[in-house]
């Protein structure tokens, strides 16, 4: 399925921000069992690697919907800087 979401995201234009706007609390992520962020995100931004116990945040794919910030209270969530981020043209 992962390829499918990448194909979907490929249709979008982004003005990629120079810095990440999504800041999960790493200490909480280590203890987190649900990993809800990896489920609800419509852009597959979060992925968790079991072996090195690390949450990867591909912020450049973000659609700025806010689902992760509502679903998990441990994400310090901001908008990308002025004018940066995703651009919808046909939605």
């Amino acid at each position: 399925m992962d390829k499918k979401i990448e194909d979907k995201l490929f249709t979008l234009k982004y003005k990629t921000d120079s810095k990440c706007h999504l800041h999960p609390d790493e200490a909480k992520c280590l203890q987190c069992l649900e990993k809800t962020c990896t489920i609800v995100c419509p852009a597959n931004v979060y992925s968790y690697n079991e072996t090195d116990k690390k949450l990867t945040v591909s912020y450049e794919k973000c659609l700025e919907c806010g689902a992760c910030r509502i679903a998990c209270k441990y994400i310090n969530w901001e908008y990308p800087q002025s004018g940066k981020g995703v651009i919808f043209k046909k939605s």
Partner: protein, 435 residues
């Protein structure tokens, strides 16, 4: 305001150039006050997605020349579709007298057009400008802080959408709870105008709005939509964030499931995916509406949770709430009073209009429906399809036997207590609406 740089002082600042913000800004400009409309995107609409329907009554109220806007199609046909595993039942409603009640528009074009109209009427538009926080002094909102500068105003109208970090900052609301939010994901699929007209049985530029419930979304509180653009169609779902969490389902996989259902697959066959998008919908309804104003500020549209989820209305509530906030700002200038005492007029205007009246009427519906979603959005639709399967199928078997089995199954597969609970919820919904 002696200490502030006068160059950075204006009468009203509106944050967010969606339907709520643009309506507020144009109303203020029409009343002769100076107003700046601030938007974080490079152009209005670039961050915005929705199902697709704009309601004429609201569009006309704010933009009397709305017919010049980039409208995709007027909605001449409304269809309601119930899906089972493979089969489907569709009910369509058409009324030649109501063909101009609503239309489909693309936000990147519609929002942009609206802002262009507002600029013509004197609104100063500031794109590429993220508001980081509101400036509050002695408990009164008196300006905004952007990435670069500070700007001051007598009134700030907050129209920053569903996540409204700004309303949260000034304590007017808290974060939405997952049960009070739905996530919408959508694909726009390109097809020729002729193909669309044929598949949806439409003539010329007439359009269709389709709402879908049933199987692919089973176990979740949510529904699907298909709306026709000129030469593309939008296929999307809106599902409870809480249910996505609980059922551990990825939103785009659910959308793919809907697209794979034979009913939908036939409609989109051969089409090319041209854009994918996602956005949250406030689902808390009337009971979750926060305080709508404070000294120096009002919150409008999605930021205030003003959405009628039963009828898929959001843009019209946003536009009218924006207009009321603009009118209230003008009244505040007349009385030279920007305190809560004056701005409570905004809440009164909303209470006396369809915005809060409708939301009040439906205050328990979403809650009751979501509590019984496995029945109302799944079991009953499935049984309607089963009924039609028997009704339409000639296979040489005795019909009476088939209907007897259908009736028996209907009661066996769902316990009497469950059916009773459904009936109670149904009655509560009807009485809640009519009382």
């Amino acid at each position: 305001m002696a200490e502030e740089n006068l160059q950075n002082k204006i009468d009203v600042i509106v944050v967010g150039a969606g339907p709520a913000g643009v309506s507020a800004a144009i109303t203020v400009a029409r009343g002769g006050k100076s107003v700046v409309l601030v938007e974080r995107a490079p152009f209005a609409g670039a961050k915005n997605m929705y199902g697709g329907v704009i309601y004429t009554h609201a569009a006309q109220e704010i933009f009397p020349n709305f017919e010049e806007a980039p409208i995709e199609r007027y909605i001449a046909k409304h269809s309601y579709v119930l899906l089972s595993e493979k089969d489907s039942t569709q009910i369509s409603y058409k009324n030649p007298e109501h063909e101009k009640n609503a239309f489909v528009a693309i936000r990147a074009k519609w929002d942009k057009w609206c802002v262009e109209q507002a600029m013509k009427e004197g609104v100063y538009f500031a794109p590429n400008t993220l508001v980081r926080e509101l400036i509050v002094r002695d408990g009164k909102v008196c300006g905004i802080k952007t990435d670069i500068e500070e700007y001051y105003a007598d009134i700030v109208i907050v129209a920053d959408g569903v996540n409204s970090l700004l309303a949260k900052q000034i304590g007017l609301r808290k974060n939405i709870k997952p049960k009070n939010a739905a996530l919408g994901v959508k694909e726009v699929i390109k097809l020729s105008k002729e193909t669309i007209n044929k598949r949806f049985a439409l003539e010329d530029d007439k359009g269709c709005a389709m709402e879908i419930v049933g199987k692919p979304l089973e176990k979740l509180f949510g529904m699907g939509i298909i709306y026709t653009n000129k030469d593309s169609i939008a296929v999307g779902i809106g599902v409870s964030l809480e249910d996505l969490k609980k059922q551990k389902m990825k939103p785009y996989e659910l959308l793919d499931k809907l697209k794979e259902h034979p009913f939908v697959a036939d409609l989109i066959e051969g089409g090319e995916l041209v854009e994918y998008s996602a956005h949250l919908i406030p689902e808390g309804g009337y009971n979750a509406i926060p305080k709508l104003y404070t000294d120096g500020a009002m919150i409008t549209g999605d930021a205030a949770g003003l959405v009628n989820n039963v009828h898929f209305e959001g843009t019209n509530l946003a536009m009218i709430s924006g207009k009321f906030a603009g009118e209230t700002a003008l009244a505040a200038f007349e009385h030279n009073d920007f305190s809560s005492n004056m701005l409570c007029l905004y809440a009164k205007k909303l209470e006396n209009s369809f915005v809060l009246k409708d939301m009040k009427t439906y205050k328990d519906v979403v809650h009751l429906l979501s509590g019984r979603c496995s029945s109302f959005l799944n079991y009953y639709p499935d049984n309607i399809n089963k009924f039609f399967n028997i009704f339409t199928c000639a296979d040489g078997e005795h019909k009476k036997q088939k209907f007897q089995k259908f009736t028996k199954d209907f009661f066996v597969k769902r316990s009497l207590s469950e059916l009773f609970k459904d009936a109670i919820a149904g009655i509560k919904i009807v009485f809640g609406i009519l009382k």
